[in-house]
Symmetry: C2
Subunit: 304 residues, 2 copies
C-alpha cells in the first residue's frame, strides 16, 4: 500500500521513500538509531496555509482590544495603524518581525492558560477568508501522510515555527498529533507569580525568542539538543535549519515547499514579505535541498 497517496510519483516522493529506507535499514551504512530520528517541520506555509496572511494575524485582528496601545500617538503609527484599520495589504507588506511583534504583544498580560483557552476557542469557528473552510481544515493532506509515515518508522516530528509557540500548541495535537513538548516556536518572556491557585505564568510584552532564520537553529539546540535528520520548510526563514539538518553524514533530507499552484492553493515566493522565499530557492541545489512543487508533487492539497 502506498504510504503517501497524496504525493505524485516524482523526485520528491522518491527522495522521501529512499531517505526513510536508508535511515531504517539495520546494518546499512546510513542506518539511524531510533533516538536520533528527529524531523523538524516549519508550520505556516509548510504544514498549513499562510496566505493571504498568517492565521495568527487574523487571530490578532479578531481580538483587537488587547493590542490597542493606550497612547494615541502609537495608534496612529505602524504597525499598529494597519492592524487597527484591518488593512491586510499593508500588513502583508510588513516584515515578518514587524507583523508578528504586534501579534505577540497582543496577548501580554494573559496567563499562558488563558491564552490557550482564547486560541482554542477562536479556532472552533474561525474561517479562512478565501478558501471557504475552517483554518483547522487548511492543513496539507500530503504533510499529514508524511508525518504518519515518519512516525510509523519511529521518527519523532517537531514543529519549529516562527509563529507563537502557545498559538501553535493550541492546535498541533489535534491537527498533527504533535504534543506541546514537540512544538518549538517564538515566545515572549514570561513571569511566574504565586497566588492562591499556585504559581501562574504571565506573558510579558517583550519577545524572548523570535524563531526565524539563525534562531531556529538556536532553538533546535535548546529544545531538542540533537541535529535533526529531516527538515521541511518553505521560506528563507527555514534556510539555516535546512542547512543545519543537511550536514553531518548519514541519511539526511532537506525539503523546501514551493507554492506554485494558484488554482488549488496560492502562488508566491520572493514577493511575500511576511515569509519570503528567495535565497533558499536559489541555493537549494548547491545545498542538496529538494524543492517540492505543490502543483507537480501533490495529488491533493487539502483533506477531502
Amino acid at each position: 500500500m502506498d504510504p503517501l497517496p497524496s504525493w505524485n510519483d516524482g523526485w520528491a516522493k522518491a527522495a522521501i521513500l529512499d531517505f526513510v529506507a536508508r535511515a531504517t535499514r539495520e546494518g546499512g551504512p546510513d542506518f539511524v538509531p531510533v533516538p536520533e530520528r528527529i524531523a523538524v517541520f516549519d508550520h505556516d506555509g509548510t504544514l498549513w496555509v499562510e496566505r493571504p496572511v498568517h492565521a495568527q494575524i487574523y487571530f490578532t485582528l479578531d481580538r483587537l482590544a488587547g493590542i490597542v496601545p493606550r497612547d494615541p500617538a502609537l495608534r496612529a503609527r505602524q504597525p499598529y495603524k494597519a492592524f487597527l484599520e484591518r488593512d491586510l495589504a499593508t500588513i502583508a507588506s510588513f516584515s515578518r518581525r514587524e507583523a508578528f511583534e504586534v501579534a505577540f504583544r497582543a496577548h501580554s498580560g494573559l496567563t499562558t492558560a488563558e491564552f490557550l483557552d482564547a486560541a482554542s476557542s477562536w479556532f472552533k469557528s474561525a474561517k479562512h477568508p478565501t478558501l471557504g473552510r475552517l483554518f483547522t481544515d487548511c492543513v496539507y493532506q500530503p504533510q499529514l501522510e508524511l508525518l504518519d509515515y515518519l512516525r510509523a518508522h519511529h521518527f519523532k516530528p517537531f514543529v519549529v515555527t516562527g509563529g507563537g509557540v502557545e498559538f501553535v500548541r493550541s492546535i498541533a495535537e489535534q491537527l498533527y498529533g504533535i504534543p506541546p513538548e514537540q512544538v518549538v516556536g517564538s515566545s515572549n518572556k514570561t513571569r511566574v507569580e504565586s497566588g492562591p491557585g499556585g504559581p501562574a505564568i504571565f506573558t510579558l510584552p517583550e519577545v524572548r525568542s523570535f524563531d526565524d532564520r539563525e534562531e531556529k537553529v538556536v532553538n533546535i539546540e535548546l529544545h531538542i539538543g540533537r541535529r535533526p535528520r529531516l527538515a521541511f520548510g518553505n521560506s528563507d526563514g527555514d534556510l539555516r535549519m535546512l542547512q543545519y539538518t543537511g550536514r553531518g553524514g548519514g541519511a539526511r533530507l532537506g525539503l523546501l515547499l514551493h507554492h506554485d499552484d494558484p488554482a488549488r492553493e496560492f502562488s508566491y515566493d520572493r514577493e511575500f514579505r511576511l515569509s519570503p522565499l528567495d535565497e533558499a530557492l536559489r541555493i537549494a541545489p548547491a545545498e542538496g535541498i529538494m524543492v517540492v512543487s505543490i502543483k507537480n508533487d501533490w495529488r491533493a492539497v487539502f483533506p477531502s
Copy 2:
C-alpha cells in the same frame, strides 16, 4: 513482582503506587490520558549525588584553563579565586547562582558540539571524591526503578535541572534513558555562525536562563507546554515546580527527597547553600508534598 524493589514499604512507596494506579485506571475519576502523563525530575540531589559539591563544579575545576579571566584583578576576586585555588569549602558556601555562573561561563566560546565531547570524555573517568566510584555510578538506584516504572505506565519523564542543559544531556540518555529533548536546564545564550561546515552553534558568556525556583516553571511551560502530573525534587529550588505540578485536579504527586543518611550517602538540608532545603521542607505538609527519606524509604541507594 515488585516494580520498586529498592524502595522500602512505607508511605512514600504506597503514594507512588497509588498515584500510578489512579492515573492509569481507565474510566476512573483520576484517569490521565497518555499524552498528559508528564513527570519532571530535578537532577542534582534528586537523580544523583550533589555533595560535597555538584559534578558540574568538579568538571569546571578540572578544566580551569577555560575559566581563568585574563584580567588579574578578576582572578583575585570571588567567585573566581575559590575556583582557581580549588577551595571547595568556599565554593560550597556560594549561592547556587554564584557558583554556577562560573561553571556556565567556563565553556563559552566552544561550540555546543565541542562542549558535549568535552563533557562525555570527562565522564568516562571522573571519580566522585569520597564515594570511590565514577560520577556516572552515583545515580540513585530507587530513582532508576521509579523512572522505569513510570515509563512502563506511559509516563514521559523530563529532567528539569538547575545544572547546564548540555552538561546533563551529555549523560542523561546513558544514565536514565532520557533523550536530550527531555532535558530542560540552565543555559547560556548561543550564536549561530555559518561556516564551510554549515551553521555552528557557539556558546556565549551570558546566561540565557538560570533554571531555578520560578524559572523552573517558566521553562516547563516553554519546553513542555503542559502542567506535569508528577514532580520530584530535593531543594527549595524545586518548590515552585512542585507547587505548579500539585495544582489542577486529578492524579498528581509531589515528592521531595530529604538527604538524611550520612552512613550511605550524605546528610544535609538548609545549611548547604548550593542547594538549600528549608522552606520546601517546612511547607511540604500544607502543600501535599510527600517527603521521601533516604534513610527510611530507600532499601538501596546506589546500583550494586
